[in-house]
């Protein structure tokens, strides 16, 4: 409304200035100067506003471009982290698998010599009491030769299963060699260990594996030795091994205790 009023007033002034009757009027020259100056200022104001509008729209566009770029970079960053995290998880799992494989026997999944060695060294450092028992399947070679390695393997797995069931949670049973197992009985003296091993040998002798229409079973010999304070575990192990040899020599299917 204001603009219309202003435009109306300007039109009136323009008409008055154009009227020849006012040509000699003393105020005409001053009015005309005022009129022209006003027109100039109006034009400048409009130009200023249009420039300002253009700047504003440019700034807005630039902001939108920046926003889009930012969103894209953020999305990329998220994708990168996501993929990278998944690769890391993959590597971690692979490491765990490798660690498991490096410390366990593939057939029986029992701890292997490396893991047992680590555990024994730990026990030595901790100064804890323990007894070692080496168990060996009697005449295992004959089983392999007569019935084949598949049957032999099956027997090893079956023996392992029973051995695991017969032990306490804190005992460790590992595959020491081909048909040889090592039991690590923690916080256990020779006598207690002996009764544990005897019970175990009885149960193991009842394990049956089928070959054709036959059922096979085996006996085990054992050598036990209690760790002496301060000695390295290898010494304890040597005594257990010696005791096992004696058990074999005495006719197998028996336990032999190494003298303390």
């Amino acid at each position: 409304m204001k603009a219309l009023g202003e435009e109306g007033l300007l039109e009136r002034v323009a008409a008055l200035l154009a009227d020849p009757r006012h040509a000699e009027h003393p105020l005409r020259e001053a009015l005309e100067a005022l009129y022209l100056q006003h027109r100039d200022q109006q034009e400048q104001l409009e130009r200023l506003m249009s420039i300002s509008d253009r700047y504003q729209s440019l700034a807005r566009e630039a902001q939108q471009v920046t926003q889009k770029r930012y969103e894209r970079a953020l999305k990329r960053q998220k994708k990168l982290s996501r993929i990278s995290d998944r690769y890391q998880a993959l590597m971690r799992e692979r490491n765990q698998t490798l660690h498991q494989e490096a410390h366990h026997d593939a057939l029986t999944e029992l701890p292997n010599r490396r893991l047992i060695d680590e555990r024994l060294a730990q026990l030595d450092r901790g100064g804890r009491r323990y007894t070692l028992a080496l168990l060996d399947i009697d005449h295992f070679k004959q089983i392999n030769d007569e019935y084949g390695h598949d049957v032999g393997d099956e027997l090893l797995v079956a023996i392992t299963r029973t051995m695991r069931q017969g032990l306490r949670d804190y005992d460790l049973c590992g595959r020491w060699g081909g048909e040889e197992f090592l039991l690590l009985l923690g916080d256990t003296g020779l006598e207690e260990a002996s009764s544990i091993v005897e019970r175990l040998r009885t149960r193991l002798a009842q394990v049956r594996v089928a070959s054709g229409d036959q059922w096979l079973s085996v006996t085990l010999s054992a050598g036990l030795s209690e760790h002496r304070v301060g000695e390295p575990y290898l010494t304890t192990l040597q005594r257990a091994d010696q005791a096992l040899l004696e058990a074999k020599r005495e006719g197998r299917d028996r336990s032999q205790l190494a003298s303390c």
Binding site: I83, S84, R86, Y87, M91
Partner: protein
Amino acid sequence: MPAMTMIPDLDISGSQSTPIIRSDWAAGRLTMQGDSYPENSYDLFDQVIAWVQGFLTQESRPLRLELGLVYLNTSSVKAMMDIFDLLEEAHEQGRQVSVTWHYDPRNERIAELAEEFKEDCSYPFVITPAKVVP
């Protein structure tokens, strides 16, 4: 007319921590396989990115990527995303580009990761189990 500067083909023999990278300008093919966790991945991948860029700007023939990548560290992941972005741009401009990612079927997790890469790609991106040599 002076001949355009042809970018020499890549023939990088892999190591334990770097993939085998081979390019064939004439066939329009780039092959990368193996693990990638190089010490300086920019040195390694800058040449690959330059080759892809060169091919896409100087040629109008199709470009094919044959991948058999297994483990990638973060900077290698970023480099691969950059390469896939180049392909996407070219594809949007009507270029024929494609990726085939071969994975060991014994390791399905690699296929899942390839799927993650594929997510924003609108060009043919095939993830296929490789034949296992017994």
